[in-house]
Protein backbone atom coordinates (compact mmCIF):
# COMPACT_ATOMS: atom_id res chain seq x y z
CA UNK A 1 0.00 0.00 0.00
CA UNK A 2 1.70 3.16 -1.13
CA UNK A 3 0.38 6.19 0.64
CA UNK A 4 1.12 9.61 -0.78
CA UNK A 5 0.04 12.64 1.15
CA UNK A 6 1.63 15.26 -1.08
CA UNK A 7 -1.40 15.61 -3.35
CA UNK A 8 -3.65 16.11 -0.35
CA UNK A 9 -1.82 19.15 0.99
CA UNK A 10 -3.66 21.77 -1.06
CA UNK A 11 -6.98 20.29 0.08
CA UNK A 12 -6.20 20.39 3.79
CA UNK A 13 -7.79 23.79 4.47
CA UNK A 14 -10.91 22.53 2.72
CA UNK A 15 -11.02 19.47 5.00
CA UNK A 16 -10.30 21.45 8.15
CA UNK A 17 -13.29 23.69 7.54
CA UNK A 18 -15.39 20.61 8.25
CA UNK A 19 -14.33 20.65 11.89
CA UNK A 20 -16.35 23.74 12.67
CA UNK A 21 -19.34 22.43 10.76
CA UNK A 22 -19.22 19.10 12.55
CA UNK A 23 -18.71 20.62 15.98
CA UNK A 24 -21.51 23.13 15.64
CA UNK A 25 -23.93 20.60 14.37
CA UNK A 26 -22.98 17.92 16.89
CA UNK A 27 -23.16 20.19 19.90
CA UNK A 28 -26.64 21.47 19.06
CA UNK A 29 -27.82 17.91 18.39
CA UNK A 30 -26.44 16.67 21.69
CA UNK A 31 -28.27 19.39 23.57
CA UNK A 32 -31.56 18.65 21.83
CA UNK A 33 -31.09 14.93 22.35
CA UNK A 34 -30.23 15.28 26.01
CA UNK A 35 -33.11 17.60 26.73
CA UNK A 36 -35.72 15.53 24.90
CA UNK A 37 -34.18 12.32 26.18
CA UNK A 38 -34.65 13.41 29.77
CA UNK A 39 -38.27 14.30 29.13
CA UNK A 40 -38.92 10.98 27.44
CA UNK A 41 -37.20 9.11 30.25
CA UNK A 42 -39.47 10.86 32.73
CA UNK A 43 -42.49 9.87 30.64
CA UNK A 44 -41.30 6.27 30.74
CA UNK A 45 -41.23 6.08 34.51
CA UNK A 46 -44.48 7.94 35.07
CA UNK A 47 -47.69 6.30 36.10
CA UNK A 48 -49.71 7.82 33.22
CA UNK A 49 -50.07 4.98 30.68
CA UNK A 50 -50.61 7.43 27.82
CA UNK A 51 -47.28 9.16 28.38
CA UNK A 52 -45.48 5.85 28.78
CA UNK A 53 -47.06 4.59 25.61
CA UNK A 54 -46.05 7.72 23.74
CA UNK A 55 -42.45 7.55 24.93
CA UNK A 56 -42.20 3.86 24.09
CA UNK A 57 -43.62 4.40 20.62
CA UNK A 58 -41.27 7.32 20.07
CA UNK A 59 -38.28 5.24 21.10
CA UNK A 60 -39.37 2.34 18.99
CA UNK A 61 -39.71 4.46 15.88
CA UNK A 62 -36.62 6.58 16.23
CA UNK A 63 -34.35 3.75 17.30
CA UNK A 64 -35.98 1.33 14.94
CA UNK A 65 -35.66 3.09 11.61
CA UNK A 66 -32.54 4.25 9.81
CA UNK A 67 -31.40 7.72 10.69
CA UNK A 68 -31.02 8.56 7.04
CA UNK A 69 -34.73 7.91 6.51
CA UNK A 70 -35.58 10.26 9.37
CA UNK A 71 -33.25 12.85 7.90
CA UNK A 72 -34.81 12.53 4.48
CA UNK A 73 -38.31 12.78 5.79
CA UNK A 74 -37.52 15.94 7.71
CA UNK A 75 -35.50 17.57 4.98
CA UNK A 76 -37.48 16.53 1.91
CA UNK A 77 -40.97 15.68 3.06
CA UNK A 78 -41.50 18.70 5.31
CA UNK A 79 -41.16 21.30 2.52
CA UNK A 80 -43.20 19.19 0.11
CA UNK A 81 -46.00 18.70 2.63
CA UNK A 82 -45.98 22.01 4.46
CA UNK A 83 -44.30 24.36 2.07
CA UNK A 84 -41.88 25.43 4.79
CA UNK A 85 -38.34 25.44 3.43
CA UNK A 86 -36.44 23.87 6.28
CA UNK A 87 -32.70 24.49 6.14
CA UNK A 88 -30.13 21.73 5.95
CA UNK A 89 -28.71 22.66 9.32
CA UNK A 90 -32.09 22.72 11.04
CA UNK A 91 -33.14 19.42 9.49
CA UNK A 92 -29.87 17.87 10.48
CA UNK A 93 -29.95 18.92 14.11
CA UNK A 94 -33.62 17.99 14.32
CA UNK A 95 -33.10 14.55 12.86
CA UNK A 96 -30.01 13.86 14.95
CA UNK A 97 -31.46 15.39 18.08
CA UNK A 98 -34.75 13.51 17.80
CA UNK A 99 -32.92 10.30 17.04
CA UNK A 100 -30.42 10.70 19.84
CA UNK A 101 -33.24 11.46 22.27
CA UNK A 102 -34.54 7.92 21.79
CA UNK A 103 -31.20 6.41 22.78
CA UNK A 104 -30.57 8.89 25.57
CA UNK A 105 -33.99 8.28 27.07
CA UNK A 106 -33.24 4.58 27.51
CA UNK A 107 -29.91 5.34 29.17
CA UNK A 108 -31.45 7.87 31.52
CA UNK A 109 -34.37 5.61 32.33
CA UNK A 110 -31.91 2.98 33.53
CA UNK A 111 -29.99 5.61 35.47
CA UNK A 112 -33.08 6.89 37.25
CA UNK A 113 -34.21 3.39 38.16
CA UNK A 114 -30.80 2.75 39.71
CA UNK A 115 -31.08 5.69 42.12
CA UNK A 116 -32.07 4.51 45.60
CA UNK A 117 -35.83 4.79 46.12
CA UNK A 118 -35.15 6.38 49.48
CA UNK A 119 -34.06 9.53 47.69
CA UNK A 120 -37.48 9.95 46.14
CA UNK A 121 -39.17 9.29 49.45
CA UNK A 122 -36.99 11.74 51.32
CA UNK A 123 -37.77 14.44 48.77
CA UNK A 124 -41.48 13.64 48.78
CA UNK A 125 -41.58 13.69 52.57
CA UNK A 126 -40.13 17.20 52.46
CA UNK A 127 -42.93 18.32 50.17
CA UNK A 128 -40.57 18.89 47.24
CA UNK A 129 -42.54 19.09 43.97
CA UNK A 130 -41.91 16.42 41.36
CA UNK A 131 -40.06 18.67 38.93
CA UNK A 132 -37.62 20.02 41.47
CA UNK A 133 -37.08 16.56 42.87
CA UNK A 134 -36.15 15.21 39.46
CA UNK A 135 -34.00 18.17 38.48
CA UNK A 136 -32.13 18.60 41.75
CA UNK A 137 -32.19 15.24 43.51
CA UNK A 138 -32.68 12.31 41.16
CA UNK A 139 -31.13 13.31 37.83
CA UNK A 140 -27.81 14.56 39.24
CA UNK A 141 -27.36 11.20 40.93
CA UNK A 142 -28.56 9.24 37.92
CA UNK A 143 -26.26 11.02 35.53
CA UNK A 144 -23.21 10.23 37.60
CA UNK A 145 -23.67 6.53 36.99
CA UNK A 146 -24.64 6.68 33.35
CA UNK A 147 -22.04 9.13 32.17
CA UNK A 148 -20.01 6.43 30.39
CA UNK A 149 -23.06 5.29 28.45
CA UNK A 150 -23.96 8.89 27.62
CA UNK A 151 -20.43 9.51 26.40
CA UNK A 152 -20.76 6.50 24.12
CA UNK A 153 -23.92 7.98 22.68
CA UNK A 154 -22.38 11.41 22.13
CA UNK A 155 -19.35 9.89 20.45
CA UNK A 156 -21.56 7.80 18.20
CA UNK A 157 -23.44 10.94 17.29
CA UNK A 158 -20.22 12.76 16.44
CA UNK A 159 -19.20 10.02 14.11
CA UNK A 160 -22.55 9.37 12.54
CA UNK A 161 -22.69 13.01 11.60
CA UNK A 162 -21.19 12.12 8.23
CA UNK A 163 -24.73 11.22 7.19
CA UNK A 164 -25.71 14.86 6.98
CA UNK A 165 -23.61 15.07 3.87
CA UNK A 166 -26.48 13.48 1.99
CA UNK A 167 -28.47 16.66 2.43
CA UNK A 168 -25.61 18.85 1.42
CA UNK A 169 -24.25 19.84 4.80
CA UNK A 170 -20.51 19.52 4.35
CA UNK A 171 -19.09 17.98 7.51
CA UNK A 172 -15.59 16.70 8.07
CA UNK A 173 -16.17 13.20 6.77
CA UNK A 174 -17.91 14.31 3.64
CA UNK A 175 -15.12 16.73 2.86
CA UNK A 176 -12.61 13.94 3.14
CA UNK A 177 -14.71 11.85 0.78
CA UNK A 178 -14.99 14.66 -1.73
CA UNK A 179 -11.26 15.09 -1.81
CA UNK A 180 -10.93 11.35 -2.22
CA UNK A 181 -13.32 11.31 -5.14
CA UNK A 182 -11.58 14.26 -6.73
CA UNK A 183 -8.19 12.63 -6.61
CA UNK A 184 -9.26 9.01 -6.75
CA UNK A 185 -7.19 8.44 -3.59
CA UNK A 186 -9.27 8.12 -0.55
CA UNK A 187 -7.13 6.45 2.05
CA UNK A 188 -5.10 9.57 2.71
CA UNK A 189 -7.95 12.04 3.23
CA UNK A 190 -9.74 9.44 5.30
CA UNK A 191 -6.67 8.99 7.48
CA UNK A 192 -6.48 12.73 8.01
CA UNK A 193 -10.16 12.83 8.92
CA UNK A 194 -9.50 9.89 11.21
CA UNK A 195 -6.87 11.79 13.13
CA UNK A 196 -9.11 14.83 13.46
CA UNK A 197 -12.01 12.70 14.68
CA UNK A 198 -9.72 11.03 17.13
CA UNK A 199 -8.69 14.38 18.57
CA UNK A 200 -12.30 15.52 18.83
CA UNK A 201 -13.38 12.32 20.55
CA UNK A 202 -10.35 12.50 22.79
CA UNK A 203 -11.34 15.97 23.94
CA UNK A 204 -14.95 14.86 24.39
CA UNK A 205 -13.79 11.91 26.47
CA UNK A 206 -11.61 14.12 28.63
CA UNK A 207 -14.52 16.45 29.27
CA UNK A 208 -16.61 13.43 30.20
CA UNK A 209 -13.97 12.18 32.62
CA UNK A 210 -13.67 15.61 34.19
CA UNK A 211 -17.40 15.79 34.64
CA UNK A 212 -17.41 12.29 36.12
CA UNK A 213 -14.76 13.33 38.59
CA UNK A 214 -16.69 16.45 39.55
CA UNK A 215 -19.84 14.46 40.07
CA UNK A 216 -17.93 12.01 42.22
CA UNK A 217 -16.41 14.65 44.43
CA UNK A 218 -19.07 13.95 47.05
CA UNK A 219 -18.08 10.27 47.31
Amino acid sequence: MNLDFSQIVPYIPFILKGIGATLQFVSVSIIIGLFLGIILALFKIMKKPILRWFADAYTSIFRGTPLILQLWIIYFAVPQLSGYDISAFLSAVLAFGLNSAAYVSEIIRAGILAVDKGQTEAAEALGVPYKSMMANIILPQAIKNILPALMNEFITLTKESALVATIGYLDLMRRAQIVGADLYRNFEPLLIAGVIYWVMVFVLTKIGRMLERRLRKSD
Binding site: P79, A165, G168, Q177, A181, Y184, N186
Partner: protein
Protein backbone atom coordinates in the same frame (compact mmCIF):
# COMPACT_ATOMS: atom_id res chain seq x y z
CA UNK B 1 -0.13 -0.66 -7.09
CA UNK B 2 0.61 -3.76 -8.96
CA UNK B 3 2.21 -5.77 -6.18
CA UNK B 4 -1.20 -6.83 -4.95
CA UNK B 5 -1.25 -10.45 -4.00
CA UNK B 6 -4.78 -11.53 -3.50
CA UNK B 7 -5.43 -13.72 -6.44
CA UNK B 8 -6.39 -11.10 -8.98
CA UNK B 9 -5.47 -11.39 -12.62
CA UNK B 10 -2.54 -9.04 -12.42
CA UNK B 11 -0.45 -11.49 -10.52
CA UNK B 12 -1.89 -14.93 -10.62
CA UNK B 13 0.15 -16.08 -13.55
CA UNK B 14 2.42 -17.49 -10.88
CA UNK B 15 -0.07 -19.94 -9.48
CA UNK B 16 -1.40 -21.44 -12.66
CA UNK B 17 -3.74 -24.36 -12.31
CA UNK B 18 -6.36 -26.00 -14.41
CA UNK B 19 -9.11 -23.58 -13.42
CA UNK B 20 -9.84 -20.57 -15.56
CA UNK B 21 -8.20 -17.42 -14.16
CA UNK B 22 -10.52 -14.90 -12.58
CA UNK B 23 -10.72 -11.24 -13.51
CA UNK B 24 -12.22 -9.13 -10.75
CA UNK B 25 -14.22 -6.09 -11.66
CA UNK B 26 -15.73 -3.71 -9.12
CA UNK B 27 -18.71 -1.57 -9.84
CA UNK B 28 -21.35 0.39 -8.06
CA UNK B 29 -24.54 -1.14 -9.32
CA UNK B 30 -26.75 1.82 -8.61
CA UNK B 31 -26.21 3.54 -11.95
CA UNK B 32 -28.64 2.23 -14.53
CA UNK B 33 -28.54 1.71 -17.42
CA UNK B 34 -24.77 1.32 -17.11
CA UNK B 35 -24.81 -1.03 -14.13
CA UNK B 36 -27.62 -2.22 -11.96
CA UNK B 37 -29.32 -5.34 -10.70
CA UNK B 38 -32.29 -7.00 -12.31
CA UNK B 39 -35.12 -8.06 -10.02
CA UNK B 40 -33.49 -11.49 -9.58
CA UNK B 41 -30.35 -9.88 -8.22
CA UNK B 42 -28.14 -10.41 -11.30
CA UNK B 43 -25.93 -7.66 -12.65
CA UNK B 44 -27.03 -6.04 -15.88
CA UNK B 45 -26.23 -2.97 -17.91
CA UNK B 46 -24.06 -1.49 -20.61
CA UNK B 47 -20.81 -1.57 -18.61
CA UNK B 48 -21.51 -5.12 -17.50
CA UNK B 49 -21.90 -6.32 -21.06
CA UNK B 50 -18.67 -4.65 -22.16
CA UNK B 51 -16.85 -6.14 -19.21
CA UNK B 52 -18.09 -9.61 -20.11
CA UNK B 53 -16.81 -9.24 -23.63
CA UNK B 54 -13.43 -7.98 -22.44
CA UNK B 55 -13.04 -10.86 -20.00
CA UNK B 56 -13.89 -13.36 -22.67
CA UNK B 57 -11.41 -11.85 -25.09
CA UNK B 58 -8.70 -11.98 -22.45
CA UNK B 59 -9.56 -15.56 -21.54
CA UNK B 60 -10.61 -14.90 -17.98
CA UNK B 61 -13.66 -15.67 -15.97
CA UNK B 62 -15.33 -12.42 -14.90
CA UNK B 63 -16.22 -11.85 -11.29
CA UNK B 64 -18.14 -8.70 -10.38
CA UNK B 65 -18.13 -7.09 -6.96
CA UNK B 66 -20.64 -4.41 -6.12
CA UNK B 67 -19.73 -1.67 -3.67
CA UNK B 68 -20.61 1.93 -3.04
CA UNK B 69 -18.66 4.59 -4.91
CA UNK B 70 -16.22 5.38 -2.07
CA UNK B 71 -15.38 1.74 -1.85
CA UNK B 72 -14.49 1.62 -5.55
CA UNK B 73 -11.73 4.12 -5.06
CA UNK B 74 -10.41 2.30 -2.02
CA UNK B 75 -10.47 -0.94 -3.97
CA UNK B 76 -8.46 0.62 -6.79
CA UNK B 77 -6.00 2.31 -4.48
CA UNK B 78 -5.34 -0.87 -2.58
CA UNK B 79 -5.25 -2.97 -5.73
CA UNK B 80 -7.88 -5.39 -4.48
CA UNK B 81 -9.59 -5.54 -7.83
CA UNK B 82 -8.32 -5.68 -11.40
CA UNK B 83 -10.43 -2.86 -12.75
CA UNK B 84 -13.48 -0.71 -12.14
CA UNK B 85 -16.27 0.13 -14.53
CA UNK B 86 -18.75 2.56 -13.03
CA UNK B 87 -19.29 5.30 -15.53
CA UNK B 88 -16.09 6.91 -14.35
CA UNK B 89 -14.85 10.06 -16.08
CA UNK B 90 -11.15 10.28 -16.77
CA UNK B 91 -10.01 13.65 -15.41
CA UNK B 92 -6.40 14.78 -15.23
CA UNK B 93 -6.39 14.86 -11.43
CA UNK B 94 -7.58 11.31 -11.27
CA UNK B 95 -5.02 10.13 -13.78
CA UNK B 96 -2.36 10.85 -11.17
CA UNK B 97 -3.69 8.04 -9.06
CA UNK B 98 -5.35 5.52 -11.35
CA UNK B 99 -4.83 4.47 -14.93
CA UNK B 100 -7.69 4.85 -17.38
CA UNK B 101 -8.41 2.97 -20.53
CA UNK B 102 -9.33 4.88 -23.62
CA UNK B 103 -12.79 6.37 -23.64
CA UNK B 104 -15.52 3.85 -24.41
CA UNK B 105 -18.62 6.02 -24.14
CA UNK B 106 -19.64 9.64 -23.91
CA UNK B 107 -23.17 10.55 -22.91
CA UNK B 108 -23.10 14.27 -22.27
CA UNK B 109 -24.99 16.38 -19.73
CA UNK B 110 -28.50 17.64 -19.30
CA UNK B 111 -30.38 20.32 -17.36
CA UNK B 112 -33.68 19.09 -15.91
CA UNK B 113 -36.50 20.87 -14.12
CA UNK B 114 -40.05 20.41 -12.87
CA UNK B 115 -42.79 20.42 -15.54
CA UNK B 116 -44.41 23.61 -14.24
CA UNK B 117 -41.24 25.51 -15.18
CA UNK B 118 -40.17 26.27 -18.69
CA UNK B 119 -36.49 26.80 -19.35
CA UNK B 120 -35.32 26.44 -22.89
CA UNK B 121 -31.64 27.24 -22.93
CA UNK B 122 -28.59 28.28 -21.02
CA UNK B 123 -29.55 31.95 -21.24
CA UNK B 124 -32.72 31.38 -19.27
CA UNK B 125 -30.78 29.98 -16.32
CA UNK B 126 -29.87 33.45 -15.11
CA UNK B 127 -30.80 33.96 -11.49
CA UNK B 128 -31.82 30.31 -11.03
CA UNK B 129 -30.35 27.83 -8.60
CA UNK B 130 -28.76 24.85 -10.29
CA UNK B 131 -27.96 21.70 -8.32
CA UNK B 132 -25.08 19.38 -9.09
CA UNK B 133 -23.69 16.24 -7.55
CA UNK B 134 -20.53 16.71 -5.54
CA UNK B 135 -17.33 15.19 -6.87
CA UNK B 136 -18.67 14.72 -10.39
CA UNK B 137 -17.47 16.30 -13.57
CA UNK B 138 -20.78 18.16 -13.72
CA UNK B 139 -19.71 19.95 -10.58
CA UNK B 140 -16.61 21.27 -12.31
CA UNK B 141 -18.59 22.11 -15.41
CA UNK B 142 -21.26 23.99 -13.49
CA UNK B 143 -18.68 26.14 -11.77
CA UNK B 144 -17.45 27.32 -15.16
CA UNK B 145 -20.91 27.80 -16.70
CA UNK B 146 -22.28 29.70 -13.71
CA UNK B 147 -19.80 32.53 -14.30
CA UNK B 148 -20.93 32.95 -17.84
CA UNK B 149 -24.69 32.49 -17.44
CA UNK B 150 -25.18 33.94 -13.98
CA UNK B 151 -26.81 31.10 -12.06
CA UNK B 152 -26.16 29.90 -8.58
CA UNK B 153 -24.72 26.44 -7.94
CA UNK B 154 -25.85 24.20 -5.13
CA UNK B 155 -23.83 21.06 -4.52
CA UNK B 156 -25.37 17.95 -3.01
CA UNK B 157 -24.38 14.42 -2.28
CA UNK B 158 -25.86 12.19 -4.92
CA UNK B 159 -28.29 11.98 -7.79
CA UNK B 160 -31.24 10.84 -5.70
CA UNK B 161 -30.78 13.79 -3.37
CA UNK B 162 -30.57 16.12 -6.34
CA UNK B 163 -33.99 14.96 -7.51
CA UNK B 164 -35.49 15.39 -4.04
CA UNK B 165 -34.05 18.90 -3.90
CA UNK B 166 -35.81 19.62 -7.15
CA UNK B 167 -39.09 18.22 -5.81
CA UNK B 168 -38.75 20.34 -2.66
CA UNK B 169 -38.23 23.47 -4.78
CA UNK B 170 -34.86 24.12 -3.19
CA UNK B 171 -33.24 24.14 -6.60
CA UNK B 172 -34.79 25.17 -9.90
CA UNK B 173 -32.68 22.98 -12.12
CA UNK B 174 -30.54 19.89 -11.77
CA UNK B 175 -27.45 19.44 -13.94
CA UNK B 176 -26.50 15.83 -14.39
CA UNK B 177 -25.32 13.05 -16.64
CA UNK B 178 -27.65 12.82 -19.58
CA UNK B 179 -28.40 9.15 -19.27
CA UNK B 180 -29.32 9.42 -15.61
CA UNK B 181 -31.29 12.59 -16.29
CA UNK B 182 -33.32 10.80 -18.94
CA UNK B 183 -34.11 8.08 -16.44
CA UNK B 184 -35.53 10.58 -14.00
CA UNK B 185 -37.43 12.43 -16.72
CA UNK B 186 -39.13 9.20 -17.73
CA UNK B 187 -39.84 8.01 -14.22
CA UNK B 188 -40.81 11.22 -12.45
CA UNK B 189 -42.29 13.26 -15.29
CA UNK B 190 -39.63 15.98 -15.38
CA UNK B 191 -38.49 18.05 -18.34
CA UNK B 192 -35.06 19.08 -19.56
CA UNK B 193 -32.68 20.14 -22.31
CA UNK B 194 -29.22 19.04 -23.43
CA UNK B 195 -26.18 21.00 -22.49
CA UNK B 196 -24.81 22.23 -25.82
CA UNK B 197 -21.43 23.21 -24.38
CA UNK B 198 -20.53 19.87 -22.97
CA UNK B 199 -16.83 19.19 -23.05
CA UNK B 200 -16.51 16.68 -20.29
CA UNK B 201 -14.25 13.73 -20.75
CA UNK B 202 -15.96 10.48 -21.64
CA UNK B 203 -16.14 7.33 -19.55
CA UNK B 204 -13.11 5.16 -19.08
CA UNK B 205 -12.29 1.89 -17.36
CA UNK B 206 -10.17 2.54 -14.26
CA UNK B 207 -7.21 0.35 -13.29
CA UNK B 208 -4.87 0.42 -10.32
CA UNK B 209 -1.85 2.54 -11.14
CA UNK B 210 0.66 0.59 -13.24
CA UNK B 211 -1.68 -2.27 -14.16
CA UNK B 212 -0.47 -4.43 -17.04
CA UNK B 213 -4.04 -4.86 -18.21
CA UNK B 214 -4.46 -1.32 -19.58
CA UNK B 215 -2.73 -2.00 -22.88
CA UNK B 216 -4.55 -5.24 -23.53
CA UNK B 217 -7.91 -3.72 -22.71
CA UNK B 218 -7.28 -0.71 -24.93
CA UNK B 219 -6.58 -3.07 -27.83
CA UNK B 220 -9.79 -4.92 -27.21
CA UNK B 221 -11.79 -1.71 -26.96
CA UNK B 222 -10.41 -0.56 -30.28
CA UNK B 223 -11.39 -3.85 -31.84
CA UNK B 224 -14.88 -3.66 -30.33
CA UNK B 225 -15.34 -0.19 -31.74
CA UNK B 226 -14.28 -1.37 -35.16
CA UNK B 227 -16.50 -4.43 -35.33
CA UNK B 228 -19.54 -2.48 -34.10
CA UNK B 229 -20.01 -4.33 -30.82
CA UNK B 230 -20.02 -1.13 -28.82
CA UNK B 231 -22.56 0.47 -31.12
CA UNK B 232 -24.75 -2.57 -30.78
CA UNK B 233 -24.58 -2.48 -27.02
CA UNK B 234 -25.29 1.25 -26.97
CA UNK B 235 -28.31 0.61 -29.11
CA UNK B 236 -29.48 -2.18 -26.82
CA UNK B 237 -28.97 -0.45 -23.46
CA UNK B 238 -28.82 3.29 -23.99
CA UNK B 239 -31.11 4.11 -26.90
CA UNK B 240 -34.15 4.80 -24.76
CA UNK B 241 -32.11 7.29 -22.78
CA UNK B 242 -31.09 9.33 -25.80
Amino acid sequence: GSESNNGTAANNESDQNDEKEVLIMATSADFPPFESYDTDGNFEGFDIEIAKVIAEELGYELEIEDMSFDGLIGALQSGRVDFVMAGMSATEERRQNVDFSKEYHRSGEMFIYQPDESINGLEELEGKTVGVQLGTIQEEGADVLSEEYGFEVKKVDDASVLIQELMSNRIDVAYMDKTVATGYINSQGLEGFDDPTTSSPGMGIAFPKGSELVEQVNEILTALEKDGTIDELEEEWLSEYE
